[in-house]
Amino acid sequence: MRSNKNIIFWGLMVLLSVSGCSSMLGLKDENPDIYSAKVAARQAAIAQGIGEHASFAATDQSIRHLQAAPSDQTYYFDFDKAAVKKDYVDSIDSQAKYLLNTPNAQVVLEGNTDIRGSREYNVALGENRAERVAKILKLNGVSTKQIRVVSYGAEKPAALGTSEDAYRVNRRVNLKYEQRS
């Protein structure tokens, strides 16, 4: 859906730039004052179009937070898995774009696990998760100089206890901006 809108939008922009704004809008033969006012009005309409496009994704708070950049993020993982969920890829892409545009910005990716099992094995599992997120940033072109990976394994739980809920919120990678600009 989104990519269709992208194509339409950019297609329109190309057409407009190639053929000249005013002739496309059919305003060539009018009174110059009315003409400029109408052009201004049409341009204002296009400007609004750009605005709507940028905020179209923010239909609910949590997704807006995930997409916003620079913004610290928490990405959650399934038990014993290091695969990054598809839902998070757009968020990671947003952070990547910001990092590409802001060469002095730095992020740390902190890998974590739930508290069960061997502590040292959990450090390794946490690192695996953080490295998977780092990989997506790097695939977007972000330099390793802007990314720091550290795994705390089970040593910095977000929630204490032995409930499934506690386990779930501990299996996470925290993306934190150590420097924003």
Partner: protein, 431 residues
């Protein structure tokens, strides 16, 4: 680095004074003893009964002795000449410990005897063991533990562990303040805890040197994993490794020359050895698996380690001469945290069964795995130097506590802490 060390040293001093960590204590509680416990009486020593109290607690907590309650003692011999064997035989005890303490300035002179009551009334077969010690008054607890070792060895034939120590990580959550982590060394009964390191960031995986004088461990104090060694007596420390990625699971070699460690600088967590004199690294395992938790065999020629190269965490052994690797565990989908008993015949490890994580013992001859704990919330097993007891971490009532269980599963003790969560315990070598 030097200035940082000095600042941290000062901080350590400050924090010890103000957090009251110096008074922290683990409370050792026997929860189960063996059926065939040896009946014994420890008569309060003439002059001061502190020593006899400690010996009584040590032997009772070993689970191998049924110690006569202090209030039941009606005769108070201080030396073998005062002992009425007929009377003591009637009380049902097999052995008797008597003694006396004389104060001499800053020292105590302690005379102590172990008597075999069973054969005692026959002068021909009387078995008595009398020793005299002079100790500084401050060292009285240590002497008491040594006397417990002597009693234990004489009556069970096995070496006692009462003079050994434990190290563990203490985590405090002070109200409205950031979490505090400490690496603590204490007597095996939980007394005299002393923090070796206090930090705002996690500490993990302590490992004793074979001479019992140092600990290697992982610290996140610089917001990354690093391996340090610390001299227990002086607190002097040295940063050993700070490579990119994981620096973890240090394990001392039996000859004290090397550490086996985990580094992920190659892209995956692998086992290396690190020579403590030359500082040279030697990569031991290869590949794209997670390899971690190395532990030397008693002869130093091989290591066991945890690896998911087969799909899930299992225990493997690697020969340090030819790097040949054998898988050792086949029971269950998760086995980790393995170390040898001192006779090299068993591995003590963490074993998952149906979602429950318990400490288990693997008989390397038969391949049989037997659970030693049953709560399902266990971690970090560490074997005592006499190979008979295992120290481990557990969750109990939402708190991290330590437990001790004998390798036959018959003796169980708990060590909850008053001050926070305790985890990652390791048993020292013999003193």
């Amino acid at each position: 680095m030097m200035v940082n060390q000095a600042c941290r040293g000062f901080l350590l001093f400050f924090v010890v004074c103000f957090t009251g960590l110096a008074h922290a204590s683990l409370n050792l509680e026997l929860t189960q003893g063996i059926d065939a416990a040896i009946p014994i009486a420890i008569v309060p020593f003439k002059g001061n009964d502190t020593l006899s109290q400690i010996i009584q607690t040590d032997l009772q907590n070993s689970g191998h002795f049924k110690v006569m309650a202090k209030q039941e003692i009606e005769a108070f011999p201080a030396s073998p000449d005062d002992v009425n064997f007929a009377y003591w035989k009637k009380t049902g005890v097999n052995a008797l410990v008597v003694g006396k303490i004389d104060s001499q300035g800053d020292n105590y002179q302690v005379t102590f005897s172990i008597l075999d009551v069973f054969h005692g009334s026959d002068p021909q077969n009387q078995v008595t063991n009398t020793k005299v010690f002079t100790v500084k008054k401050a060292d009285i607890r240590q002497l008491a533990h040594h006397l417990s070792d002597l009693v234990y060895e004489q009556l069970t034939g096995e070496k006692g562990i009462f003079s050994t120590r434990i190290a563990y990580v203490l985590i405090e959550h002070p109200q409205g303040m950031p979490t505090k982590y400490a690496l603590v060394v204490a007597d095996v009964d939980g007394f005299n805890p002393k923090p070796l390191l206090i930090s705002d960031e996690p500490i993990m995986s302590p490992s004793w040197s074979p001479d019992g004088r140092e600990l290697a461990y992982v610290s996140f104090e610089n917001n990354r994993a690093e391996i340090y060694r610390s001299e227990v007596a002086s607190g002097k420390r040295e940063l050993l490794t700070s490579y990119p990625g994981i620096n973890g699971a240090p394990a001392w070699s039996p000859d004290g020359q090397k550490l086996a460690i985990v580094l992920s600088k190659s892209g995956y967590p692998k086992i290396y050895t690190y020579d403590l004199s030359t500082k040279l690294l030697s990569q031991i395992t290869q590949g794209s698996s997670i390899d971690t938790e190395p532990s030397f065999a008693p002869d130093g020629n091989s290591l066991v380690f945890t690896s998911d190269r087969g799909g899930s965490p299992q225990i493997y052994q690697v020969n340090l001469s030819d790097f040949d690797i054998q898988r050792l565990t086949f029971d269950g989908s998760y086995n980790s945290s393995a170390s040898y008993t001192s006779d090299g015949k068993n591995l003590v490890l963490l074993h998952r069964d149906g979602g429950l994580f318990n400490i288990a013992i693997l008989d390397l001859g038969s391949g049989k795995v037997t659970n030693l704990t049953h709560s399902g919330l266990s971690e970090s097993p560490s074997v005592a130097p006499n190979g008979k007891m295992v120290l481990y971490g557990s969750l109990y009532g939402g708190s991290g506590i330590l437990g001790i269980v004998s390798v036959d599963g018959q003796v169980r003790l708990q060590l909850p802490s008053r001050d926070g969560d305790v985890q990652g315990p390791v048993w020292s070598p013999y003193a």
